[in-house]
Symmetry: C2
Subunit: 336 residues, 2 copies
Amino acid sequence: MSKRVGAATILMENKISVTSFSAVGGKKEGEGPMRDCFDYIDSDDRFGQNSFEEAESAMQGIAMQNMLEKREIEPGELSMMFGGDLLNQCIGTSFGVFDFRVPYIGIYGACSTMSEGLMLAAMSVDSGAGDRVAAITSSHFCTAERQYRMPLDYGGQRTPTSQWTATASGALLVERGQKPPYVRAVTVGRMEDKGIKDANNMGAAMAPAAYSTIKRFFEDTGTEPGQFDRIVTGDLGSVGSRILCELLHRDGIEIYDRHLDCGRMIYSEEQDVHAGGSGCGCAASMLCGYFLPQIRDGSLKNILFAATGALLSPTSTMQGKSIPGISHLVWISGES
Amino acid sequence: MSKRVGAATILMENKISVTSFSAVGGKKEGEGPMRDCFDYIDSDDRFGQNSFEEAESAMQGIAMQNMLEKREIEPGELSMMFGGDLLNQCIGTSFGVFDFRVPYIGIYGACSTMSEGLMLAAMSVDSGAGDRVAAITSSHFCTAERQYRMPLDYGGQRTPTSQWTATASGALLVERGQKPPYVRAVTVGRMEDKGIKDANNMGAAMAPAAYSTIKRFFEDTGTEPGQFDRIVTGDLGSVGSRILCELLHRDGIEIYDRHLDCGRMIYSEEQDVHAGGSGCGCAASMLCGYFLPQIRDGSLKNILFAATGALLSPTSTMQGKSIPGISHLVWISGES
């Protein structure tokens, strides 16, 4: 049975392993500093499909298939899976994973979806609800931009605080196991809203949620930043990252020297993405392609992975509402 | 620890009670045969707000607050909650429950959201991940119709197979407890898609998912229809209900005499809703306002609650895609 501590943290009581993981990216992601982290990079972001929505689904299918092949199992051996994405009604995922025929639990956490999915998968395996539970998510620049902001062909100028929706997907598998990476604990996030209304400044909207969740994790578990090699957020970008570190600093929690943000990692300065990358696929692919392999091979011992989501919609933006943020946290470790 | 049986069913190992529940409805719902099931009925569907989206969120807030008051607890006493709705990016829920400040896990299951939320809440309490876990969902005729189909003012003619999105919300609370209703088991649904492309015939699109999940539950648990007073779906409407019973009949599973569909219950024939009601709030309000009270007072002993969702979006419809359906099932009982 899972053990609940503090306000919102659940400790795993069994050895919960992330036994397989895969990252897929698009053209721009393949040209960036993280190109070697992707198992597959598409040459034109269309993944052989006729629409961008179908491309996003196809990208998820590749991530899922690759993750299963690495583990040498068939889809029918999965107990269930958690998945979701940014598209209205999460169609990227429902059409992306349909063919695998796995019991499916749809989730919505905007760009926090990978930490939400990993959290729920770990809880399900720890409780015995499933033996092999997968989590998947994705984002696609061309589906997200036209849904959330402007028609692609319009070519509107992007503000300095704006982030670039990554064309990427990550899929992973959780099982009881004897090999790292292990999930040690999860903290369920609470929505935070400090009144940011600018849909082109999502880093600022999400930073208070990351702050709230990371702080609560430390309080709930009695740990401190020095016990973790990396404290990873995704995807606050440069603006949100600064706000997060500053908010924690005011409480005497210093993470500057070990904070990494997936939105700042996935592209280089030269790629001109302004405040950084974003999208469910950004944090998911960095987790599956960069962090999990390093924990598996021992080069990282302990990380906190706190993907962040902005719970806005074009309708709420047009109606003048502010942007609630959310962040769920997963403690991933080389030791169980 | 939960015990997994068969392909996709999880038996509860502790006494898992639904300890509080509340249903809220709009004007049309208050004029229907189920009017007495609602704890609160709004006179004009605006719930005192300026936009329909804000009205839907306000409706959720009323359901949540009423559910908490019945149990005589504060929001801060909740471990966490699961919630989602039909609106793009689930803004009905994120804005609806924000003020309660509860650790929040967003889910997306279209009109199956209440069975998905109840399933996850029961699993979380059974595993010890939470002590008091809530689930909530809603739908609103005026937000859903204009998002999925036509501008309201357009007044387009509705096809005979179309269903009427209910303006309703349901909220419930799961805890370990000694009083019925108890959650005995859950079955995680798998997406099914038989090629239906008509967004005005969602009953037909969803019926195969309900068939697949209900059949799997009987296989996984070794039970049969006669052991349940009611087998409840929501919201297949009249078209989907006929298809479901026929599909099960072909496999020798007879549920005609005990099948009820929330979409057929919530409105009367005279209310001219064609094939019935729909929307997350339809099944949620019928569960919280009609079925759970009857299990608590002993007039029903055992029901299967299998809400059904159509995982379409306007984009997928316009791109000519078919409509995947999903249905999660919860066995709710007067005995633990």
